[in-house]
Symmetry: C2
């Protein structure tokens, strides 16, 4: 079985870690056999934008639809305003390909540790999966600016929440909770201050909850949620939140689990009518770009999630095992307290894969 993968390295360390992920995925298929990856690289980046004025070709989204999955590095570069780069690349892909779920698992990998003094390496101390609404809410793009160059400019950001959009993310979150041992779902909201869309969000959560009587539920305000993540990480399991809230909470989650450099994300179209997209949650990190020291673990973990989504469960488990053997052995980049570079970690993971 050949999987056709669209690879979009993008900007900064996105390039380094995508190269590393391709190498690891190739080693994985070569070692295990039975499936292969064929990568097509799309050079859609801020560098290209500065040269030619665009990121994707006009039919870029259509091109992507032909692939089995998309592997994405990172986008964002100081010379291009972020709202241009993001709205030219990652956000249109998420939206046009109906990737309405963004799944962000967090746990403490072997050999790494949480910055929280009270959290031990024990896997049960911090083991979450954040289900992020990925298609609407605060990222709807609606709004505008009036009187722009006057002294009374006014701008709006309009968050859109639809019944369909909320129901499908809630259902996905309940299914995720159901698939995990603890059968527990925490819903995050800010319906005390935001009294329209967030109230609908709450209402639909409780409605869908009735279909899942075996799932233990609770509700948190997004501000209080950060406190709970710091003080009572054990009490959380599956978490569902809006586009913006989950964006913030998933960065915090990654930080609390040891480094933003290890955290993966899967942009899923659960209907499978479109390819899903896999990317580490870290950004393009201009400060360390080109130095060869980026942590590739988030990229590998994302690759493992891709492999799993494509149906190769055993290979995905194998890749995760290889990654954790490497972190456990102390072969780590600086952000994890090690002294290895991207290539060294990549080769170590490949060597572990070859032992599978």
């Amino acid at each position: 079985r050949i999987y056709n993968i669209a690879s979009i390295p993008g900007d900064g360390i996105g390039v380094d870690i995508t190269e590393a992920a391709v190498q690891v995925l190739t080693t994985l298929s070569n070692t295990l056999g039975g499936f292969e990856f064929e990568f097509k690289t799309f050079d859609w980046s801020s560098k290209k934008y500065l040269e030619r004025g665009w990121y994707m070709e006009d039919d870029g989204l259509e091109q992507l639809k032909k692939y089995d999955a998309i592997y994405f590095g990172a986008v964002g570069w100081p010379d291009v305003p972020d709202h241009i780069s993001l709205w030219s690349l990652i956000l249109p892909i998420r939206k046009a390909l109906n990737q309405y779920v963004n799944v962000r698992p967090t746990r403490i990998l072997e050999g790494t540790k949480s910055p929280l003094a009270a959290v031990q390496a024990s896997p049960s101390d911090l083991n979450w999966v954040i289900v992020r609404e990925n298609s609407e809410g605060e990222y709807s793009g609606q709004g505008g600016t009036s009187h722009e160059h006057s002294e009374h400019a006014i701008a709006t950001e309009v968050s859109i929440f639809t019944q369909v959009g909320i129901e499908r993310i809630m259902r996905f979150a309940f299914e995720t909770a159901k698939s995990r041992p603890r059968k527990k779902l925490t819903m995050v909201t800010k319906s005390n201050a935001q009294r329209h869309g967030m109230v609908l969000w709450d209402k639909i959560f409780y409605k869908v909850a009735k279909e899942y009587p075996d799932i233990e539920i609770d509700k948190m305000l997004v501000d209080a949620m950060t406190v709970r993540m710091v003080y009572n990480p054990k009490s959380l399991d599956t978490i569902v939140a809006t586009n913006l809230h989950a964006d913030i909470l998933s960065d915090l989650a990654a930080a609390l689990s040891g480094s933003i450099g290890i955290a993966p994300s899967s942009n899923l179209d659960p209907t499978r009518k479109n390819p899903s997209m896999f990317e580490p949650i870290h950004g393009s990190a201009p400060d360390i770009a080109g130095k060869g020291i980026a942590n590739p673990v988030g990229a590998f973990w994302s690759a493992a999630e891709m492999v799993r989504w494509l149906g190769q469960e055993k290979a995905a488990d194998g890749l995760m095992k290889a990654i954790e053997n490497v972190t456990a052995a102390g072969v780590k980049t600086r952000d994890l307290g090690g002294d290895k570079n991207t290539v060294e970690v990549t080769l170590a993971v490949c060597a572990e894969i070859e032992k599978l």
Copy 2:
């Protein structure tokens, strides 16, 4: 000099900690002399709402305008939907009394510690002040729901950002940064995903920055900011953020500094045409309400900020010293790792005040 203080205990532990704060403030004025507080209690609470259908009298906001300052406990109770309670009490006060700034200092008090393993008790390790926009943005209240009881309901939350609103908060933030030794201001935004209001926010930040060439500035995306708060707390000093972003970041800040129970907030009208309002950042905590174990330190620190705003600098410093003598002596509630209750901590602080 007599200061007339409107006291609104509100719900849950708001009642306990307001009582404690009144006791401490009275002890302070009795001990130091030269000024007095006269408290008028407003019984505006969710309990009253359930009895009579309203929180404030129709002219409630007008009544408050007559006072020199407002002391607020907490609002929110399980039997009333949060968006009703909040929009009936705390949010209208902030808005109607032009309290467009919410100042939230965070540092590690003596005798307490951060949950972060790398943060020592050293005061310079974590010493921030978050300047929160308190009048517009994500808390504008605009938006609505259409097709509410159908299968295609749609709801919006509209964030409003105005030139006037942004400029005044930026200016306040720069002045705050200027008053602190490090002269450093970090601006938080999400202008990569939110491309209208947040872009105006950024633009005005850089415009106002030109008036403050001596302030060192930087810009963070709100998600990445949580990571920096966890991994590099020393690098931050003054922080300015929108209503929602700062709401989230200030809860996280409080958590990282030792407990949500210690953090104060000042809702300020910098024009001084209206009374300002002082409240701990924690909520009504229904789970521990009525047990007498709430941490009153956030309430005392808020009281100290009120005393400072009223012009009694020396008394404010004295109160802070009394609080820290008590935490340093280990007289602490459970959330700080101690075993004392609200009354014990309060009496200890009063005893320290009497030694001033």
